[in-house]
């Protein structure tokens, strides 16, 4: 008795799910991909330009890379503060989230958002609320790679 009622419920839920999928607007994947490709590409091109500039100033490749990251993070933080980055992100999606600038945006946006709850329980506690997972799994992967290097290197 119970199981047939459960089954009926399952069927109803599935029927409804099908109806929802039929009706809900489709994500414009092609448009989103083009936007993400263009904006992501532009951010990377900008990074290359900055890196070439630093290299031309005589920095080593490694140092030029670090300096480029610093500049890009600064720019993203600035544009987040000015309220521009979220407008860009709305169109660019992954194109502006995946590069290092997206990481800066996630941290600055959280810091701005939670400033009103104070510097300890607001900014301090919540600043990595969005970027946290990237850090955690970034660290985890680096440990794994480190171990692989120790064992096989």
């Amino acid at each position: 008795m119970n199981t047939s009622a459960d089954q009926l419920k399952k069927i109803e839920a599935q029927e409804y799910e099908d109806l929802v999928n039929q009706i809900k607007p489709k994500t414009p994947i092609v448009k989103n991909c083009i936007w993400a490709f263009m904006v992501g590409g532009l951010i990377c091109t900008l990074g290359q330009v900055i890196m070439n500039f630093f290299s031309a100033q005589g920095l080593s490749k490694l140092d030029a890379g670090s300096a480029t990251a610093v500049v890009l993070v600064f720019l993203a933080a600035l544009f987040t503060g000015l309220g521009w980055y979220d407008v860009l992100g709305k169109h660019a999606g992954a194109g502006s989230i995946v590069p290092i600038t997206g990481f800066a945006n996630a941290i600055v946006a959280s810091a701005m958002e939670f400033k009103r709850e104070g510097y300890i329980f607001g900014v301090g506690a919540r600043i990595f609320s969005v970027a946290g997972p990237t850090l955690v799994f970034g660290f985890a992967v680096s440990v794994v790679i480190g171990l692989i290097k120790v064992v096989f290197g």
Binding site: E12, P25, G81, Y85, K90, E113
Partner: protein
């Protein structure tokens, strides 16, 4: 024994239908850019409303809306015996902070976006039950307080899903009184049950709530033995474009044919050009539409019988992250010019 004030399974009817004697609505800037600007009492110029935080801005929004409604009848807060109010925030702080200033005896409500109907029917019961003669029902929502509680930091560069809705910044307040005055009356109400068809997408709440709306409308019509064209307008709270398309499909399934007198506050609230994707949402959506254009049309006699079916998605960010489905609810309140 079934109470003589109850009709059918879920519907209550009011013996002496309480009258809506005054109402007010204040909305945010974006809502003011929509099609109903002139029907709202006040369109705010910004989202802060002179406060330091959005939370306090929302509370002020609610408080000022209540005051504005009272002022239309020259009432002071102490003239009101009970305030029934709710909002979307954790621990419904917008309401309790507003009640702290107003010093009206206060009952807090949480029905997510269905709270306007829940507050209205509770206030009407308090009056028709003979306990109170003058009650105010009010709700509020604020786009940015809701965003930060339910979604992402506001400056985060995220891409909103096409089925997502835009939380309305707005508050609505209604003064209900024992029926000796003229004006629209609350004649009956249907208390909804939770309907959950397993929808889990928090970015598509219209889909989660549509079955509850259809269920409540179906129960209301069968409890009251009214045909769907009894009402000049059946309006759901905030199903949005996706949810109202779904509810129409469910109407067909249930054999209800409310079109062309069916609409949805979430669809009506904004223009298509305002980039809100599937439409408006939040307690303030149905409240602002009710206390703005809809009651105005009732006063003008363009709508004589209105069924407001406010819809709520009763999930929290925690339950969503834990993978639980979204319980939907809808309460129906019948407003009639008698």
């Amino acid at each position: 024994m079934v109470s003589h004030k109850k009709s059918g399974l879920q519907t209550i009817k009011f013996e002496n239908p309480p009258v809506l004697t005054a109402w007010a609505t204040i909305v945010g800037p974006k809502e003011g850019e929509g099609p109903w600007r002139s029907d709202f009492d006040w369109v705010l110029g910004d989202y802060e409303f002179g406060e330091k935080t959005w939370e306090m801005a929302e509370s002020k929004l609610l408080r000022e809306t209540v005051k504005l409604a009272l002022s239309k009848k020259n009432y002071q807060p102490q003239d009101i015996e009970l305030m029934v109010s709710g909002d979307l925030l954790n621990q419904i702080t917008s309401s309790s902070f507003a009640a702290r200033e107003l010093q009206i005896p206060f009952l807090g409500m949480y029905g997510a976006c269905s709270t306007m109907a829940e507050a209205l029917l509770t206030a009407a019961m308090a009056i028709d039950g003979g306990y109170f003669e003058r009650v105010v029902a009010a709700v509020s929502s604020h786009h940015y307080t809701a965003e930060r509680q339910f979604r992402f930091p506001t400056e985060q560069g995220t891409q909103r899903s096409m089925s997502s809705q835009w939380t309305v910044t707005g508050a609505g307040a209604v003064v209900l009184e024992k029926g000796i005055y003229g004006g629209p009356r609350v004649t009956c109400a249907t208390i909804g049950r939770i309907v959950d068809l397993g929808q889990k997408d928090a970015n598509n709440m219209g889909s989660a709530m549509a079955p509850a709306a259809a269920d409540t409308i179906k129960m209301h019509l069968s409890d009251t033995n009214r045909p769907s064209d009894y009402y000049d307008l059946i309006v759901t709270g905030d199903l949005g474009k996706v949810g109202s398309a779904l509810v129409k499909q469910l109407f067909v399934k249930y054999g209800i044919v409310p079109e062309p007198n069916y609409s949805d506050c979430g669809v009506l609230m904004f223009n298509d050009t305002q980039d809100v994707h599937a439409g408006g949402s939040g307690c303030g959506c149905s409240a602002a539409m009710l206390c703005g254009p809809l009651l105005k049309k009732m006063m003008q006699g363009k709508i004589e019988r209105l069924l407001l079916v406010a819809t709520g998605a009763l999930m929290s960010p925690t339950t969503s992250f834990q993978g639980e489905s979204i319980p939907g609810i809808a309460h129906a309140v019948a407003l009639e010019n008698l």
